[in-house]
């Protein structure tokens, strides 16, 4: 399912893709699929295999662990990368809090995608560092 033609403009503003040129953004947009989730719909399911790497285009989503809401994700945020990178099932539900439009890349394609686009990998690494820092702060 190919993406809508306004996706390239939308993702140009996301920090993950901050280093890309126009044709590179277009190539990236075409590698992803677009998906839509109604309010309350689950995107990732705790314990269910076969999910992917998601980037939010529009709307917000909640992270829910054992039925407890933890935090909210918004446009430009991404999720699912941890289970893709580790090859494990998600440890949380991700639930659409509003109607939600996302880009999605299947788990099996994430490694190839990141190694082909080192600048995106670096930005993703920064994102992971930020998450780790926040978790460390929260724990301390």
């Amino acid at each position: 399912m190919a993406v809508r033609d306004d996706v390239v403009n939308a993702i140009a503003a996301f920090s993950l893709f901050a280093d890309l040129t126009g044709p590179q953004l277009e190539e990236v947009a075409h590698l992803f699929d677009e998906s839509f989730f109604g309010q309350g719909e689950r995107i990732l399911r705790q314990g269910v295999s076969g999910s992917g790497f998601y980037i939010i285009l529009e709307g917000t989503a909640g992270i829910r662990v054992d039925n407890v809401d933890r935090s909210t994700l918004k446009a430009g945020d991404y999720f699912g990368e941890i289970s893709c990178l580790l090859g494990e099932v998600p440890v949380a539900d991700i639930v659409a809090e509003t109607p939600l439009r996302c880009l999605v890349l299947p788990a099996a394609q994430l490694e190839g995608f990141l190694t082909a686009h080192p600048r995106i990998m670096y930005r993703l690494l920064q994102g992971e560092a930020r998450k780790l820092k926040n978790t460390t702060k929260w724990l301390s």
Partner: protein, 504 residues
Amino acid sequence: MAELGQKPFPPGRYRLIVVGSGPGGLQVSYSLSRLGVDHAVLSDDPAPGGMFRRWPVFQRMLSWTKPFAGVDHGERAYERYDWNSLLSDDQENRAVMPALMDGTSYFPSRPEMQKGLETFAQRTGIRVRHGCRWESTRRDGKDFVLTTSDGEYRTGVVVFAVGVAHPYRPPIPGLESVPHYGDFRPVETYKDRRVFIVGKQNSGFEIATGLLPFARQLVLASPSPTKLSVLTHTLVGVRARYVQPYEDAALAGGVVILDTTIEEVMKDGAGYRVRTRNAAGRELTVAADDVIAATGFVTPLRDLPALGVATFGQSRLPAQTPFWESATVPGIFFAGTITQGAAGLKKHGIPSNSGAVQGYRYNARVLARHLAETKFDVLATRERMDAETLVPYLLEQVSHGPELWHQRAYLARVIDLDRDAGITNEGIVPLQAFLDSGGGDAVAATLESNGQGNPYPVVYVRNAGSIAEHPMPPHELLDFTGAEYREQLRGLLEPVLSGAASPA
């Protein structure tokens, strides 16, 4: 059938209206009728068949009907090998297609497909008001009001089965004035010409394949690399039928395949110049005598977005619930290829086959039952089962059940294992609905693929409110009825079965 000169379903109020007379509209109408749900069917077309009355442009289907499969054509299990016939509950109306095909190919010709759909509609008595064009839609209290070329229709529930066949062109300067896939001229007129095809999906490769004996040069271009179905192990990617141009390019013949952004299409005398730039920044301008936009299709939803129907993706598919209801406007449902907008889990990135007849015909049947039960108080019958037969039954379903084969990780066979009511066959249910709707102890069996090898069964067991996923190993001959499977499944079901088998 209606009397001569008298169209069925004059304007008025109906409990349910189906719009469209392609395979999706026909299947949902047939299935509703079987459940005793009265409804009207409206269609702009003069006869049944939908897009197969015109396309594919090279007049041969991409979906097969295998005549010899070791299964009688009247059997349900034959549906796995026959991707093109609509589904009938009666043996005599099953497998309409193989009997109509001339035997020269296991891909039916377009006219054979059209004939098959017309034959099914005629034999099963599906009534359609043809030549009735749906033009606009509004709300009036709880009703939807459809304005058509024949007058106004009112209903509380409407199913749109209007296809995804409206030509789409991305906003590339100059592309708006080049012919689309649907405008393809007689193939001989491309003799000795340089043809530039924008788009590298099946429609682009179908045209390229047809042009191989005619065109001097073929260039296919789009931003991302071509995927091949034989490598993705799914319908994602260019189908084997259309791979010949790819081989021609690989062997450096007269076909060129470019992964590049198309920046502009410029008129140049009688021909064109196409300016491209790839992700590495390299610019290339290609001269061509013809440019064809094989850039896909959008859903002809007319004014439904203004009514609040959310859409997504290049095809502007309506966002849908697992039961194919608009995610944003309750009461509006979809059937046919539009149901690919209800993506389900899309495990491992693999879509369902809801975009194609062999997949969406099952969605339509599940939708009909869902509508009957939730909107019209018609309860479909459910078979009671005993614990002894459960394991072999489920293994038979994952080995031969056509719904599971065609709609992998999308439709599931669900069995309720209720402590009081006993074991009940719930039938075919969208997997997502099973996983997300909650409920008592139950098991859902699917067939799934991860894009790498053979499909394999997966069993989801819901026990005391929580669901566990259990993949089973693949089998070289795709037969999951053997002892190792019986043993594994028995072990998985044991904890829940012990509760169901002995009512409290």
